[in-house]
Each structure stands twice: as structure tokens, then as C-alpha cells.
């Protein structure tokens, strides 16, 4: 367990108990109703045995019994619903936090982490926190309060029985801690082993086609069976000890009952006034242990937290908002972009960019070339603000980009990458993604400019055709056209093109470059590519060129102007 995990669980616990105060209060009231009910039942039974006159008092007892039952039922209903809301609120809070942090960090901050896994964190790992807040926290609170209340009542009613109950009650956590040595560690081990088997199974199932096509299905099936068998043996060794703690609970409950019965049987003879008390205390025994059983039942929910806490606690904090001072916007009519001695590297010793300087004027195009790994995408990410230069300045119209209001900076930059992401939604949703407030005419113009009209006309549902998972699958070229439509709709004065055609076959590439030419007109453009066709295209426009390969070999001196 990493260092951040424990404090994280602690803080969740604190939040959980704070939120559960009302639920715990109701729980305590419910316990008291349980005591009342047991008292009423005891009086009724005593009346039944003719030791008390079955008269008015029996009727009163019956009424108290019914009222107590109804109150408890209502509290139970209220608490189950309320506890669900505790879990729901916690999940909303955690999910909001996780997603806000991830969204704020941006693509560079999440470098090297798979989006599917991050989504699993935001969905499944947060979902796994439900049991902790909705069940474990209330059950734990009640496991302390319930027996305490009932123990106190028992002490008052009959101090000997009270002592028996309280000792038996204290024995339970004591046994859990000592005999189970525990139960905690053992259950944790078992949980981890179980999780491993599940991970292994999931992994083998995910890769099942690889296994089948390698002709190893039978061997893997046997290996899986063997792994499960080994897990069973190992786990059972642990469980034999772990279950001793549950047995301690059973033992305590049975012993308390037997001792209380033994304590009363001899003295009851002829002492009728003791009868209701005796019955009352016997009826209290199950009530006393019920919260402890409830607590034992939610142990798995507590364990589940251990499994997900590491991942949730390890999420980076969202970066602090930009200080309000010195923020400025620049006029967005035509943009001049300049790099001034910019240095960047993932680690100190191996800079990707070393004192790079260049300038692109209004309406000009800059062609960035070089093998992969020489920093083309890094330059694009620096302009987008996903990365911060280690040294040097990036300016737009002479103003350092860090001084810009982030929203203004975002407004100014358009971008098209290798493979645009198509979101679950219609074609229209996907294009409007660039600007949800755009009018119908603007969207139409963007579609025309991106040459998407033909595709849309060929689809029966037209612009309302759903895309994404389970929807119409667009080809690489069509996806790129959607990206171009987005860029038209956003209409930003600075356009970054990061390998826009590297996934396309030559015929489609030519088409897309034609559309890009139209998009580039009147904008300041940076085109990063290693496609010869794209380079030729840039030359026809009259682009300047920065060759990062050449720079790398040319003693790392910033050139260009």
C-alpha cells in the first residue's frame, strides 16, 4: 500500500461518518425501539404465563409492541433509502473530483496512461466505493452504538446479565483482533488472492483469440483450473483462521444466552416479579448481537476500498488555477506566433527541444519535419498549453502565452491531429462539438467546406446518423473531414496540423490536403508531418520549414527567424 492510500481512506472515513450522522441517530433510535419492543414482548409473555394479570397492562404492552415494530420498520426503510443516498452522494463527489482532475490535467498530464483504464477509474472504481459509504460506515457506527445502548439497558435491568452481555460483546472485537490475528490480515489476503484470480481470468478472456489462434486453448483451460485450485488451497488455509473471528461472534452470542438462562432459571422459582426481566433479557440477546453481525457482513465492503483506494488516491491533484494578476487577452485578428529560445524535455538530461526559436507571421505556414521523437508533437503541445516550456518564451502577437487568459488562448487555436476522436453522438453533434452555440447556417457552411455533403446525403438518417460505438463506422478519411468541419466551425486564427494525413492512403490524402488548403487560407498554420505529399503541399503554399532532424545534428543551436 502506498503512502497516499492510508490518509486517503482516513479522510474518506471521516467524510463518511460526518455524512452518516443522521442515519446513525436514527439507527440509535431504532435500537431503543428494539429495546421497547423486547420489553413489551417480555411483559406479554409474562402475562401469558399468568404471573401478571392479563388486563390493561397486557393491552398496553401489545400496543407498545406494535408501535415499536412500526417505528422500527419505518426507521429501517428510511435508513436503507438514506444510506443509498449517502453512497450516491459519495460517488457523485468522487466522480466529479476524479473527472475534474483528469480534465484539468489535460492530455500531456496523463501521458502514458490508457484512457480506457482512466475511464474504468472514473466509473468502476468510484462505483466500488458505494459499499463503503452506503453500508460499511453506517454498520460500523451502529456496531458500536447498538451494543452500547443495549448493554446499558441490560445493566440497569439486571446488572449480572448486563455484565454477561457486555463481556460477551467486548469479547467479539477482542477475539477478532487476537484469535483472528487476524481476521483482518487474513481476509485482506483472501481478497487480494481473489482479485488476482479475477484479474488473471479477465486477462485470459481478453486475449482469448490469441490463445485460440495459437492452438493453446486446452492448455490454458487446464492452467486456469490449476491456478484456481492453488488459490483455493492457499485461501482455505487462511480462511480456517479467519473464520475463527466469526465463530467468536457465534460463541459469544450462544454463551451469553446460555449464561443468562442459567442465571435466571434457579432464582425464578417462586420469584414471579423477576419473570418479565428474565424474558426481557433473553429477548435482548439477539438484539445485542445483531449490529455486530451486521458489521461482520459488510467487511467485504471495507476490503473493496483497499483494492480501489490506491488507484483513486494516486490520481494527481488538478493543477491550481492561473493567478488572476497580469492576465491579458490579445486581439485575435491575425496571429503571429514565435518561439524564443524554448527548451523542453521530459527529463533534465535529455531535452527534446533545446533553445528552439522561430517565428510564423500572420497568414503564414510553418512546416515542421523530422523523424518521430524529434519533438514535432511536443511543439504542438507547447502551443496548445498542454506542456510548459522548461525555459524560454512562447509569444502570440508579442504577448507571452502564459499571460493569456486560458479561455482566450483556447479560442485562438484550432487543431487537427492524426486520428480525430469521434464521440458517441450524431454527425451533427460531432461537428457542433467545436461550437455548440453555432447556428444552422454555420454548421452547413462547415459541412460544405469540409466536403462532407456527399457522405451525409448518402446516409438515410443524414446529419442525424449516430456515430461512435455501435453507430455508423466512419473511415479514416471521413473522420478527418469531420475534424476539418470542426476546425471551420471553430474558426480560430491559429491552426495546428499534427500529422493530419499519416493514417490515410494516398488517394484520400490528396483529397484531405485539398480541403486543408482551403481551411488554411488566411490563418497562421503550423503543419507537422513526415508525409512527402503533405510536404509538397506545404511547399506549394510557400511554407517556411523547420527540420528538427537537421537541428538535432546541427549542435542544437536555435536557428530560423
Amino acid at each position: 500500500m502506498s503512502k497516499t492510500t492510508k490518509p486517503w481512506i482516513k479522510s474518506e472515513q471521516k467524510l463518511g461518518f460526518q455524512a452518516a450522522r443522521l442515519s446513525l441517530l436514527f439507527g440509535a433510535v431504532g435500537t431503543m425501539c428494539g429495546v421497547l419492543q423486547a420489553g413489551a414482548a417480555a411483559r406479554l409473555l409474562a402475562a401469558l404465563l399468568h404471573v401478571q394479570r392479563a388486563g390493561l397492562s397486557a393491552w398496553v404492552s401489545a400496543l407498545v409492541f406494535i408501535l415499536a415494530v412500526l417505528a422500527r420498520a419505518w426507521i429501517q426503510l428510511r435508513n436503507e433509502r438514506g444510506n443509498f443516498e449517502l453512497g450516491a452522494a459519495a460517488r457523485r463527489r468522487l466522480r466529479g473530483k476524479v473527472l475534474s482532475a483528469l480534465l484539468a490535467l489535460g492530455p500531456a498530464g496523463l501521458r502514458g496512461r490508457h484512457s480506457a483504464e482512466l475511464a474504468a477509474t472514473a466509473v468502476d472504481r468510484v462505483e466500488a466505493m458505494e459499499g463503503f459509504h452506503a453500508r460499511w460506515v453506517p454498520a460500523t457506527g451502529l456496531a458500536v452504538m447498538g451494543p452500547a445502548i443495549i448493554g446499558l439497558v441490560a445493566l440497569i435491568a439486571d446488572w449480572r446479565s448486563g455484565v454477561i452481555l457486555i463481556i460477551a460483546g467486548l469479547f467479539v472485537p477482542f477475539a477478532m483482533a487476537v484469535a483472528g490475528i487476524g481476521a483482518g490480515i487474513a481476509a485482506k489476503k483472501q481478497f487480494v488472492a481473489m482479485t488476482r484470480l479475477q484479474v488473471r481470468f479477465l486477462d485470459r478472456i481478453r486475449g482469448i483469440s490469441t490463445i485460440v489462434l495459437s492452438g493453446r486453448a486446452e492448455e490454458e483451460a487446464q492452467a486456469l483450473g490449476k491456478a484456481a485450485g492453488e488459490l483455493r488451497e492457499r485461501t482455505m488455509r487462511v480462511l480456517r483462521v479467519a473464520f475463527l473471528s466469526s465463530t467468536a461472534l457465534d460463541l459469544a452470542a450462544a454463551t451469553a444466552l446460555v449464561l443468562i438462562v442459567i442465571r435466571f432459571t434457579p432464582v425464578l422459582h417462586g420469584a414471579h416479579e423477576l419473570a418479565p426481566t428474565a424474558l426481557f433479557l433473553v429477548l435482548l440477546v439477539p438484539e445485542f448481537f445483531a449490529p455486530l453481525r451486521g458489521f461482520a457482513a459488510v467487511y467485504g465492503d471495507r476490503m473493496a476500498v483497499e483494492a480501489v483506494a490506491e488507484e483513486l488516491a494516486a490520481l494527481p491533484e488538478a493543477p491550481a488555477a492561473v493567478p488572476a494578476a497580469d492576465i491579458r487577452a490579445v486581439a485575435a485578428h491575425g496571429v503571429t506566433l514565435a518561439f524564443d529560445q524554448v527548451t523542453f524535455g521530459w527529463n533534465e538530461s535529455r531535452p527534446v527541444l533545446d533553445k528552439l526559436s522561430f517565428k510564423v507571421g500572420r497568414g503564414e505556414m510553418l512546416l515542421l519535419t523530422g523523424a518521430s521523437g524529434t519533438g514535432k508533437s511536443t511543439i504542438v503541445d507547447l502551443i496548445l498549453g498542454f506542456l510548459e516550456p522548461r525555459d524560454g518564451r512562447i509569444t502570440i502577437n508579442g504577448a507571452a502565452v502564459d499571460d493569456l487568459v486560458p479561455a482566450a488562448r483556447t479560442r485562438m487555436v484550432g487543431w487537427i491531429g492524426q486520428k480525430p476522436v469521434i464521440f458517441a453522438g450524431t454527425i451533427e453533434d460531432n461537428i457542433r462539438f467545436a461550437n455548440p452555440a453555432a447556428g444552422g447556417d454555420e454548421v452547413k457552411t462547415a459541412i460544405r467546406n469540409a466536403h462532407l455533403e456527399e457522405l451525409i446525403a448518402s446516409l438515410p438518417q443524414g446529419i442525424k446518423t449516430p456515430l461512435g460505438e455501435g453507430g455508423f463506422g466512419v473511415s479514416g478519411g471521413q473522420a478527418q473531414r469531420i475534424a476539418i468541419a470542426r476546425a471551420f466551425l471553430k474558426d480560430a486564427p491559429l491552426l495546428l496540423l499534427d500529422e493530419p494525413t499519416s493514417h490515410l492512403d494516398p488517394a484520400v490524402e490528396r483529397d484531405i490536403l485539398e480541403s486543408l488548403k482551403h481551411l488554411a487560407a488566411g490563418r497562421t498554420v503550423i503543419l507537422a508531418t513526415h508525409s512527402t505529399q503533405a510536404m509538397d503541399f506545404a511547399k506549394t503554399i510557400g511554407a517556411k520549414r523547420v527540420d528538427l532532424d537537421a537541428l538535432r545534428y546541427a549542435s542544437w543551436r536555435g536557428v530560423m527567424a
Binding site: 419505518w74 426503510l77 486477462d203 478472456i205 486453448a217 422459582h269 458517441a424
Partner: protein
Amino acid sequence: MSPIIRVVSLWTRHPGWLFLALLLSLGALTAGVMLMGLSGHYLAVAIAGGVLIVPALLPWTGTARVLFRYGERIVGHEAIFRALADLRVWMFRGLARSAAGGLGLRRTGDALARLVNDVDVLDGLFLRIFVPLMGALLLLPMMFWTLEREHGLAVLVLVPFCFVAFWVPWRAARAAEDNAGKVGLAVAGLRTAALDALHGLREVKIFAAEGRMLAEVQAREAQLLAAQRELAGEGAKLSAMAFVAAQGGILLAIILGFFGLPIAAVAAVLVLTAAFEAVLGLPRAGLLYGQAKKAAARVVQAAETGPPVPEPVKPASMPSRNAIAFEHVSFRYAPDRPFVFEDLSVQLPEGSRTAILGPSGAGKSTIAALILKLIEPVSGQIRFGGTDVAQLPAEALRHRIAYLGQTTHLFADTIRNNLLLGDPKAVDEKLWAVLEAAQVADAIRALPEGLDSWLGEGGATLSGGQGRRLALARTLLMNAPVLLLDEPCAGLDAATEQEFFRVFNAATEGRTVLLILHRLTGVEHLDRIWRFTGRTLVAAAG
């Protein structure tokens, strides 16, 4: 046979354990009920001024209860761990038989992950549903017998008992079953929204859509919570009803006591307290059952779908040659879908190196699936070494063809075990030889644990290029005469891709090679190049 029964029938391989677990559970239940009953009885006798007896039986019942409970837990878990292993192995075998074609070539990791979740749900079936339900069922005649002996009317208290033990759980199961679809849909929606936001993070930032995406996720989350709230509310209502019914039953027993035998009534009240305590968990089990039923249906359906291409009744013997030929092959995925290709003929002579190019989505991978017998042509034949593949057993055929696709999986296991999948008998020298050939040996030698380094979660991380080369090493280790590569470099940058093909050229000298790609990097060594255009192949320059 209903899916649940199918899953339960898997348990019967360990009848001894299950029976013992059930027996112990029943013993524990009986002892628990008896303990309460005896306590009540002794107390009532004492109060009524009966003969003073030392309740010697009481401690024994208590002890039996404790021991039975412990035994039940141990044996029950032993049984369930066996069943759990069987369920997974059965599921794996079933999927391996049926799903290689259906799920294998497409990226359906999520669908598979959902199936695995379903299997996890089924784990609770025995201990959390079956055992308590059997307990309630067996408790019923026992209580009937005891109560009936005391007083005919006493049998009336069984009405609330049955209500709590059977009717309420049944309602809960129904509610859960109705709800399972809703929750499943809501979870899928939430997952899509979260995945969209994170997968498209670049777009989200650039188009300043953080707020919109967060709102979308929160809207989906609200849908999920609403669906869950509905079930939780229904469950809470049913639980409260069960509670009232149980306490009503106890009150009824007391009232009946005024008509009949008072001592028996006291005992009955305590017996009922214990009996209701045993069944009050059943409404929750009912909820679980509703979910398990749906899960079982999906799992059984996935595991018991037959193989996508039927095996030949009388398989032909494997030909000695390894040329592949498509003869007038037409294929479409369904009668109402357009043809992927029509009347396609192409020869891949033994020892030739061929590339098939085409944009993504054109049906290139379909060619690989046809050769591997994951699907069968609508018309025409595919011949391997001169024999129609329909006559060849799929497994023998696949042993001749080493396949490396974009979805080829590296397992969360040691590098050694990942390689051994290609050839389980390979010795270390051979492993290093293929690693050298795939030019990934240096990277692996640099890892502290070498071949025994763990891949994946919590283990060594290889870069994308290294991972593909490791997969290539495994493919080379298979030593099959035909190599079939389908976009082996998907997701890698151009330089890494070129590097991969340089290595590949050298390592596969002399074998029959078919590359399926969307474009060439220019370094591949090839004899012939075909281009996919409009449902057929045309020769391209090469």
C-alpha cells in the same frame, strides 16, 4: 434448460462438498433454533413454577451451533471455490470454442470484461442464495411438525414465515430482474460518456468542452443513480415489509399462546425470533438472484454458442504443401448486408511474400478471418495446400499459420510465459534466439529479471514498439510455415513501424508471408502487392 440451472448443474461435479455444506448449514440452523427454543422452554417452565431442572442440554446445543456454523463456513467456501474454478474453466472452454471468430478479431474487450463481471455475480449464487433458501425450505417442515404437535392453530404463524422466506424474496428477484437491464444500460451510458471525455481529451481541451463533458457524465451518472435508487427503494420497502411480517408472526404466536399452551408459546416466540433472523436476509438474496439470473443467461449464451464454422465431419488429412488460394470467394456478414467482396480470386504461392492494402473498414481483416476458418465464405473456396479449408480441422490448420493481428494480446504474466504460448516446449536458447530475431532481446536483457519479468499491471512496461516486437517473437516461435500479419503496427509511429518491418524482413526469410496493411512504409520486402478496391483485389505496382 434455464441458464441458472445450467450453471447450478456445473456444481454437481462436487456433490460431496455441496451436500456436506448444506448439511452443516442445516445443522447450524437447527441448533440455533433449538437453542432459542430450549432457552424459552426452560425459562417458561421455571416461571410457571415447574420442576427445577438444570438445563444440561442448553450448553450442548450452544456448542453444536457454534461448531456447525464454523464447519458450514469452511465447507461452504471449500465447495464454492471448487465450483468457482469449474465455472471459469467451463466458461473459458466455451468461449474458446465459440467466440474466436465472433469476438476475436474485433476489439470487444469491453464486452468480454462485462461477461467476466457476470461470472463474478454468479459466484454468490451458492453461498448467498442457494444455501439460505434451502435452509428456509428445510426449516419449514421442521417448524410445521413442532408447531402442529403443540397446537393446531400454532401452524398459523407459518403464514408470515412463508411470506418472509418466499414471497418477499420472490418479489425482490422479480424487481431486480426488471431493473438489471436498466442499470446495465445506464452503466454502459456512463462508461461511454467517461471514455469519450478521456479518450477525446485533446479535442475536449481544444474546443473548451470540459464543462460540457462533465455535465454529460453527470447526467449519465444521474440516470444510473436513478435506476439504482429505484431498486434500492423497492428492496427497502420489501425488507421493511418482511420485518413487519416477522414481528407480526411473533405477536401472533403470543396471542395464540393465550388460547393454548403458554409454555409452548414462550418457546415458540423465541424459536420464531431465531427462525426469522435466519430468513430476514432472503429478500436481499432475492435481489441478488434477479441479477444472477440475467448474468447466467448472458454467460451461458456466450459459452454455449457453437463454433462459428462447423468442423468437417470427416476431416481430410493436412496437405504437405502450404500455398493458399482464394477461388471465386464471395463473402458478406449477413444476407441483408452488402458483400465485403465478390468473386475474389488470389494466389499466395508457397514461399511468396504478399501484401494486401486497403483503407481501414474495407474488409481486409475478413481475408485473415477466412483463412483462419473463423468465418466461412458465402460461395467459392479457400484452398490450403490444394485442399478446401472446409475439409480441414481448424486447429490443425491454425497450427500451420502463425497469426499476428492488431489485437494480439500480451498477457499479464512473465515474458517467458508469454513467449511459451507460441511453443510450450521451447528452451531458453530458443526463446533468446527469437527475441534476437525480433530485435527485442536487448530491451529484455536490460530488465532486472530478464525473461521472468512480469508484464502488465505492476510489472515491467514495454514501449508500444517493443510490445509489438515481443508479439512478433512469439509468432516466430510458433515456427509455422505461413505468417499472417494483420496491421501488426497499428497505433505505432512511422519510425517504429519501419523499424518493425526491417526486423520482420530479416526474420521471416523463406516463409510464406501475407501482410494486411492500410499502407506500406516502403521497407517491406514483397513479391506482390494487391490493393483492395470496391469488393475485389487489383494488382498494384510492386
